[in-house]
Each structure stands twice: as C-alpha cells, then as structure tokens.
C-alpha cells in the first residue's frame, strides 16, 4: 500500500516541478530536492527494518559484528553520495557531481581501511617468508 502512495506522490511532484519550472527555475530545482528528500526518507523507513533483521540474524549466529557495522556505514555513505550527485547532475552541474562522488569513494575507502588491513595481514601470513 505504501508503495502506491509514494509513487503517486512522486508523480504529482513531477507535474508540480514541470509547472513551476516555466515560471521560476530555481524554486523548481528546490522542489526537486524536496521530492528527493521525501523519497529517501520513505526508503529509509523500509531500510531500517531490513537492517534490524540483519542485526537479529547476526546475534543469533554470532557472526562477527565488526564487518556488519562497516557495511552499514559504507552503505550510508554511498547512499548520501548518490543522493547528492544525482541532485547536482539534475541541475546540469556534472563537474561538481563528479567531485561529490570522488569524496564519497574516499570516505568509503577510509571506512573500509581496517578490513583491508586485516585481509592483507592474512595474505602475508600465507606467503612463506
């Protein structure tokens, strides 16, 4: 049910944006940011349930929680980066959109660094020195 609701909100918002775009492009762009925010807030609600399910799963099988947290963080950073770069691309600011993506990749690397180091240590242990 919620799916149909959010789709109809998006369609109405798209029509409003087209309407406002002729008269006032800047406010139309702000309206598209607002629509994007509503969609992402809706997605977050559903995503929260998925993450809670994952967390219960890990506690039952006592999987190492370190990696799960890192995965959540990486998804979060990717989520925001995608949101921002698509918005900038929508406003024809492709150069800045690319910059935002580079920043996002950098932060994902920063978050995933400890895992990278752990993998490297395991690999080095295999090499017969």
């Amino acid at each position: 049910m919620a799916f149909l609701q959010i789709i109809s909100v998006i369609i109405v918002a798209a029509i409003l944006i087209i309407l406002v775009k002729e008269k006032n492009t800047s406010i139309a762009y702000l309206l598209s940011i607002l629509t994007g925010t509503f969609v992402f807030l809706f997605v977050l609600m559903q995503l929260n349930e998925v993450f809670n399910a994952f967390q219960q799963l890990t506690t039952q099988i006592n999987l190492s929680l370190l990696h799960l947290d890192t995965i959540f963080k990486v998804i979060g950073v990717a989520y925001i980066t995608e949101f921002t770069s698509q918005l900038l691309r929508d406003a024809n600011l492709n150069a800045i959109a690319l910059k935002v993506e580079i920043v996002g990749k950098l932060f994902i690397l920063l978050i995933a660094l400890p895992i990278l180091i752990a993998v490297m240590e395991v690999l080095i242990a295999f090499v017969p020195s």
Partner: protein
C-alpha cells in the same frame, strides 16, 4: 501523507512569487520585483534545508554513522 501538502505549498509559493514578479514589473517597480523573487526563493530554501537536515539526521541514526560526520 502530509508531505504532499508541503509539495503543493512550495509549488504555490513558486507560482505566486513568479506572478508577483511580473505584476511588479508591469507596474514599473523593477527592483521591488527582484526583491520579491529573492524573498520567495529564500523562504523555499529554508523549508527545503529543514527537510534535508532531517533526512541527514535520519541517515546518521539508521546507518550508525555517528563518528564519521
């Protein structure tokens, strides 16, 4: 459901501001028209920024991104 009303409000503000702009321009008050448009834009900007910050707060809580930002 309340978010659709906000979308309508923002669209309404955009259209009203554009109309005020053209009316003032016909009346000959060119600078007043610019000010009215700027004011409308700032009003919408405040609304949008409030929602974007709410979104980012939500993202931080869902994705446990406390220490990064």
């Amino acid at each position: 459901m309340s978010d659709i009303y906000l979308l309508f409000q923002v669209a309404g503000i955009g259209i009203v501001v554009a109309m005020i702009h053209t009316i003032l321009k016909q009346m000959g008050k060119e600078d007043m028209a610019q000010w009215a448009t700027l004011l409308g834009f700032i009003l919408v900007l405040v609304i949008v920024i409030e929602y974007v910050s709410k979104l980012f707060q939500e993202i931080r809580s869902v994705f446990l991104l406390q220490m990064l930002m």
